[in-house]
């Protein structure tokens, strides 16, 4: 029966002209940035597709973390090795555009059905993949930042363990009550920790968005670091340590923050949804997951990997690649992928599938990231993205460690980014 359906599908595909008569071989690179045996999940996806499309051969190449994957994919293209598509960091788009490596999906997805497919994802997840009105990146492994809170600590501090702070003021006040000191006046539990090494710019985007500002424009050639509200956002972050004394001063290490939280050394932490499973497995206390608190509005940047179509490919290969990407991002597969990985389901109808519906009922924390997508914004990504990002990272760390005032630090970062981005306007 399955075979028959497969044959019928193949026949239909042939009729529709979306497949050439002879076999197509596709190669793609993909990164893995979270723990777990995900290569197996990807291999299963590929096997599932090939079963339904026997005339397509697919080589899935695991390529390390996001940076490694980009380096390998670009190196392969330069060396003339075939690669028709890849999963790469969503913020690599400008680098890939500058290298002239990718083509928009709009050029290949031309049927009305394909066009509808392009519109089936959460708009927040499309922001990083769209350039000048064309779609270059299809969301695949995507995450956002959420707030984890320790319910026992809330109870101990006399706060309602079921209602997490929803605004900046509430968070500062709750955190002040959550700080615990020992007999000699040393802090044994902090109120809140937001990591500031490694992905400082990403965390900062959340503050800025909550304060009403995005950090860059859609063309990726203008940043907005020196806006008064952006400065205000950094000021709040700095104040959590300096003024409210609810967070350690200096920078907070990304890598050890999860342990700080699960050992009860901080009552609240901001972290990626990618840590959800690990926290679930190691925390010995009940914890909640909530949307990040609001200043003027809610907000969080998205993160993670998108599908890209590479330019060095024949029309037949592009068609087959599109077919594969459509297949992998169909609601059922998206639901399976989200459950297996913890990544956000990339489209609303994935959450209507029985599988994901059932999963969310049993583990409601998994739905928080989805609900927050309404307020989400694109991850910081511009031309010269590495340098611009570093300028911002340095500014944030300079402010947090007291080296510069938030206004001065962000002004310097803005000047640097002006210099870098001028040629792209």
């Amino acid at each position: 029966m399955k075979k028959l359906i497969g044959l019928l599908l193949l026949f239909a595909a042939l009729l529709a002209g979306s497949f050439p008569a002879k076999a197509v071989e596709l190669t793609f690179y993909y990164p893995i940035a979270v723990g777990g045996p995900l290569t197996k999940v990807v291999d299963n996806l590929v096997a599932g597709f090939v079963k339904e499309h026997p005339d397509v051969k697919i080589n899935a190449v695991y390529a390390g973390n996001y940076d490694d994957a980009r380096i390998k994919a670009l190196a392969a293209l330069r060396a003339g090795q075939p690669a028709q598509m890849s999963v790469l960091f969503s913020i690599d788009i400008y680098e890939l555009l500058e290298q002239d490596a990718i083509v928009p999906f709009d050029d290949v997805a031309t049927t009305p059905e394909d066009k509808a497919w392009l519109k089936s994802f959460y708009p927040a997840l499309m922001a990083n993949g769209t350039y000048k009105g064309k779609v270059y990146g299809i969301p695949f492994q995507r995450s956002t930042i959420v707030m984890y809170w320790n319910k026992d600590a809330f109870k101990e501090a006399g706060l309602d363990p079921e209602s997490p702070p929803a605004t900046w003021n509430e968070m500062a006040q709750a955190a002040a009550r959550l700080v615990k000191k020992d007999a000699s006046g040393n802090v044994s539990r902090w109120g809140v920790m937001v990591p500031s090494t490694g992905y400082a710019y990403w965390m900062f985007q959340a503050f800025a968005r909550e304060n009403g500002q995005d950090l860059m424009n859609r063309e990726g050639n203008q940043t907005n670091f020196a806006h008064p509200d952006v400065v205000g956002a950094l000021q709040y972050w700095v104040d959590l340590g300096k003024k409210f004394k609810v967070m350690p001063e200096g920078t907070v290490e990304w890598g050890t923050l999860r342990q700080n939280f699960t050992e009860g050394k901080t009552a609240i932490m901001w972290h990626t949804t990618g840590n959800l499973t690990a926290v679930k497995d190691t925390a010995k206390f009940p914890f909640g997951v909530a949307m990040l608190p609001a200043s003027k509005q809610r907000g969080s940047p998205t993160g993670g990997g998108n599908w890209y179509l590479f330019k060095k490919s024949t029309p037949a290969e592009r068609k087959a690649a599109l077919e594969f990407i459509k297949w992998v991002t169909a609601p059922e597969r998206t639901a399976e992928w989200s459950i297996a990985t913890g990544y956000v389901g990339t489209r609303p109808d994935a959450y209507e599938t029985p599988k994901l519906k059932e999963y969310v009922v049993g583990f409601p924390q998994a739905a928080v990231a989805r609900d927050q997508l309404k307020f989400a914004t694109a991850e910081l990504s511009t031309f010269q993205t590495g340098r611009v990002r570093k300028a911002l990272d340095d500014a944030i760390q300079a402010a947090l460690t007291g080296g510069k005032s938030p206004a001065d630090a962000l002004k310097a970062a803005q000047q640097e980014s002006e210099r870098l981005l001028k040629p792209y306007r």
Binding site: T197, E249, Q397, L400
Partner: protein, 297 residues
């Protein structure tokens, strides 16, 4: 068929070259050619498929002069070298003399001094990350016993470099100790006997006999320690990623960031040329200065 046969000297030449070839090919392919290619890259702009690279002369070097981060990481490297080299050499010498003497459990002590050297730097950094972590880290737990509050060791620009230096000394001293230990064991015991008969104090003997005789080892260790202070950056990936605000960034890590995070191959090459020139300069200086005081036997 040639009637002329190869003469013996020519054959010997060929034979000699053939023997040299494997090493020469490897050396040229993986050392000399990349160095020359780096120099060449540093004179061109970074190309993309859209905008191919072109010759820009010394523009990259001019940009380097204007790059505040470059000067900062250079300064950091200077302090890192100054902090690690003398201390780890002194410590290595002290440990070597200590384990060279007769003491119970000598093999165990030697081994434990050497253990940090055997561990990969990444593993070491992961260990020390948990020493330095505020509150849950070992360091904070120890200072808490004395009533001190938690300190954000790696998150404070004033303490982060000290933390890296301490970890590097811990890692390196054992390695250098091995060289000193080998050198100490090759010193003829008659010298010590003679000194004792002459009534020399132990300190006098060390200062006038042992230390000068260890000079070749010291030179070797010094060169290695200097190179290492520029070469060792593995721990930055784990511990600080160069932060906060470049307070712990070192030249080689900055080169990595420029090359693989910014994809600016030209500028990364320029920085590499500077690093190579610096190291070559150090090597020449050390060999010339110290050679005068070195007694080769």
């Amino acid at each position: 068929m040639t009637t002329k046969t190869w003469s013996v000297p020519v054959l010997r030449q060929v034979y000699g070259w053939l023997l040299l070839a494997p090493a020469a090919i490897l050396l040229v392919g993986f050392t000399h050619y990349p160095a020359v290619a780096t120099l060449e890259h540093s004179l061109f702009s970074t190309g993309t498929l859209a905008r191919p690279s072109r010759f820009v002369g010394l523009a990259n070097y001019a940009a380097l002069g204007d790059d505040p981060i470059f000067w900062q990481v250079l300064g950091n490297n200077f302090w890192f070298a100054l902090g690690t080299i003398p201390t780890s050499i002194a410590l290595a010498l002290l440990m070597a003399i200590w384990v060279n003497g007769k003491l119970p459990g000598r093999a165990l002590v030697r081994m434990s001094y050497f253990t940090p050297t055997v561990l990969p730097m990444i593993a070491v950094a992961n260990l020390w990350l948990y020493f330095y972590t505020p509150q849950i880290g070992l360091l904070d737990k120890v200072t808490a016993l004395f009533g001190a509050g938690s300190h954000n060791w790696l998150g404070d620009p004033h303490t982060v470099m000290g933390c890296l230096i301490a970890m590097t000394i811990w890692k390196e001293a054992g390695f250098f100790m091995i060289f000193y230990l080998a050198a100490l064991q090759s010193l003829p015991p008659e010298l010590e006997e003679a000194a004792r008969i002459e009534g020399a104090s132990r300190w006098y003997f060390f200062r006038r006999v042992t230390f000068p005789l260890l000079m070749p080892t010291t030179l070797f260790v010094l060169v290695n320690a200097t190179i290492n202070s520029f070469k060792l950056v593995d721990h930055l990936f784990i511990l600080t990623k160069g932060g906060p605000d470049n307070a712990s960034n070192l030249l080689l890590y900055y080169i990595y960031q420029v090359a693989f995070s910014f994809f600016d191959i030209a500028y990364a090459s320029t920085l590499t040329v500077v690093l190579l020139a610096l190291l070559a300069g150090f090597a020449i200086l050390q060999f010339q200065l110290v050679e005068r005081r070195v007694h080769y036997r």
